[in-house]
């Protein structure tokens, strides 16, 4: 398990990213829908069919596991492999942000230069 290659799961879709992030604490499907909308500051709204499909796939890949039931609702939580995948995704996003910051600095410098030539 510890040697599971996490690279094959990366990059995560936005939906999967927020689902895994929400499942850092145990939740049922609808709670994940609500939590994802809140932590994404409303930028993502997950639909039930999407959540259900993602849960099935993530459970099959052992990135999440069922930890209990609340009536007819299944409660899931992220696994250790899931955490490592999530961290891998976060690392990718950090690289994305750093590269953006660097290239925007270059762009701003160039724009300033062009303006001074006018």
């Amino acid at each position: 398990m510890a040697n599971t290659n996490i690279q094959k799961y990366l990059p995560l879709t936005e939906a999967t990213y927020y689902i895994l992030l929400a499942l850092v604490t145990p939740k049922h499907g609808y709670a994940v829908m609500q939590d994802a909308e809140e932590i994404s500051q409303g930028t993502i709204r997950l639909a039930p069919g999407t959540i259900y499909g993602a849960f099935t796939t993530l459970e099959g890949n052992e990135l999440i596991s069922m930890v209990g039931k609340e009536g007819r609702r299944k409660i899931y939580q992220i696994t250790e492999t899931g955490i490592r995948v999530l961290l891998g995704q976060i690392q990718r996003m950090e690289i994305m942000l750093q590269s953006a910051a660097k290239n925007f600095d270059l762009w701003q410098e160039r724009t300033a230069e062009e303006e001074s030539h006018d």
């Binding site: 879709t13 936005e14 939906a15 049922h28 499907g29 609808y30 829908m33 993502i44 709204r45 997950l46 639909a47 039930p48 069919g49 999407t50 959540i51 259900y52 499909g53 993602a54 009536g71 007819r72 609702r73 299944k74």
Partner: protein, 177 residues
């Protein structure tokens, strides 16, 4: 005095789910609300007040124990299950509750639905090919076998057409989202 229930016959193919959803919403605006789908192509409606309802269909072959949690999740999100026929799940959402949502929020999961239908049809087709010689075995003649042969052939043509249509639908979704 009107009847409480009305049954309508209408045929939609597996790749016409969006057309079917639109038709059910149209019926709801006339006050006919889907109650059950007793047979393929047969829709039982309950007579009531016209309403703005959104209908969506999913395709799932779930074990009973998984179906409970599946339906509960849809119910929590405001989708009432109103029918089930051959793996097709019919859901209704009251548009008056706010903006009409979808049952799939991204392209991947929407494609996933058509892939599940496709898998089902793709299993049926080779099964038909294997069955064909048994049904229409060389030593058998007579009108019954001609009819059976024609029917089997027709079903195979339809299955192939369905598979092509679903592939096109999936490719279209991959391009446009």
């Amino acid at each position: 005095m009107t009847n409480k229930f009305i049954t309508k016959q209408k045929w939609f193919w597996a790749w016409q789910d969006e057309k079917e959803e639109a038709w059910l919403a149209e019926m709801a605006q006339q006050g006919l609300h889907l109650n059950t789908v007793p047979f393929p192509g047969s829709y039982r409606f309950k007579n009531g007040d016209p309403a703005d309802h959104v209908y969506r269909m999913d395709y799932q072959s779930l074990k009973t124990k998984d179906k409970d949690s599946y339906l509960q999740l849809f119910a929590d999100a405001g989708w009432e299950q109103v029918g089930e026929m051959g793996g097709w799940m019919y859901f209704r959402y009251d548009a008056a509750k706010g903006t009409a949502p979808e049952i799939f929020s991204d392209r991947e999961s929407k494609i996933g639905k058509y892939q599940r239908v496709l898998t089902y049809l793709a299993i049926l087709l080779p099964l038909m090919v294997v069955m064909m010689p048994n049904i229409t075995g060389a030593e058998r003649y007579g009108p019954i076998f001609v009819i059976l042969e024609a029917l089997t052939f027709l079903v195979m043509v339809l299955l192939s057409f369905g598979i092509i249509q679903l592939f096109r639908r999936i490719n279209q979704l991959k391009k446009t989202g």
